[in-house]
Amino acid sequence: MAKKSPYESGELTDSIFLILLACLEPIHGYKLMQIIQEMTNGIMEIGPATMYTTLKKLNAAGWIVTISEEENKILYQVTKEGHTVLQEDLSRRKKLMEVAEHYFISEGKVEGKALSTIDFKSNKGEMEGENE
């Protein structure tokens, strides 16, 4: 019934993907948020609550480890397992991009006939009608 969590399926959310990437070198939690914002040019900004729960889950899944420093500061780093998961997800993402590039994109732009919103709505209405 419930969707498998990314920690079981290995199909990473964008947040997890970026956090693992940024943890390839040991790094502090607060720096993680800054670096992810910088490396994505502000497209992805991870909120502190999302960061905190994700780090805890990644740690529980054994994909990252915490290294305690003095003054209660904690460093995070990817484990071997985390590295493998990241590598696999990277390949999956690359494949998706290849599919898009191969079938639908030419010179960086998507091609193909796009339905206007009005068309889409009327189609949706028909589909719903069929289901009834």
Binding site: G29, M33, E45, I46, G47, A49, T50, Y52, T53
Partner: protein, 173 residues
């Protein structure tokens, strides 16, 4: 001098409480903490356009607060089960990803549900076995009843609240 307002939302409707905090800040009364389990405490200052965020992690640690501080959210309340942060109006939200918020809500919902169920079972037990007490020692019966019904209500209502919030978040996902 302090002003007080009832805690009404939290698990059930935190947006409502956030709105109260924002409006109080606009009038120059800023959230300073809580008093007991029922009241928010506000202290007077300059009128400000602040934003507030509520989270409900069951434990709080230094690392958590560091993450909030470095993204512009100052902790005002940091208790297990209830953390409230203040930031500039328009500060990016504390949850950037609906799934991570739903996960936390589900954990809390499960915990509240388990405790509510336990006290419900104990209440049933009281009625099944303690029926005789009603006549002989009504005070003791009432006392036991109150001891069990209060934690039941205070976990069952949040349980319903979490269920509703999760449902709403899933729908907008």
């Amino acid at each position: 001098m302090s002003k007080y307002r009832f805690i009404t939302g939290l698990a059930i409707n935190k947006e409502k409480d956030i709105k109260v905090m924002q409006e109080m800040s606009e009038k120059g009364w800023h959230l300073a903490g809580t008093k007991g389990v029922f009241l928010y405490r506000f202290e007077q200052g300059e009128p400000m356009q602040y934003d507030y965020a509520i989270n409900m992690e069951m434990s709080v640690d230094e690392e958590m607060l560091t993450l909030y501080k470095s993204s512009g959210w100052t902790p005002v309340v940091a208790q297990p089960g209830c953390q409230i942060f203040r930031g500039k109006r328009g500060n990016p939200p504390i949850y950037s990803d609906v799934n991570s918020e739903i996960e936390l809500l589900e954990n809390n919902r499960r915990l509240a549900g388990k405790i509510a169920l336990l006290f419900f079972a104990l209440l049933l037990l009281l009625f099944a076995l303690g029926g005789g007490l009603i006549k002989s020692y009504p005070i003791i019966f009432l006392f036991l009843f109150l001891i069990l019904i209060i934690p039941f209500v205070f976990t069952f209502l949040p349980f319903l609240g979490y269920t509703r919030t999760i449902y709403k978040k899933r729908k907008t996902e």
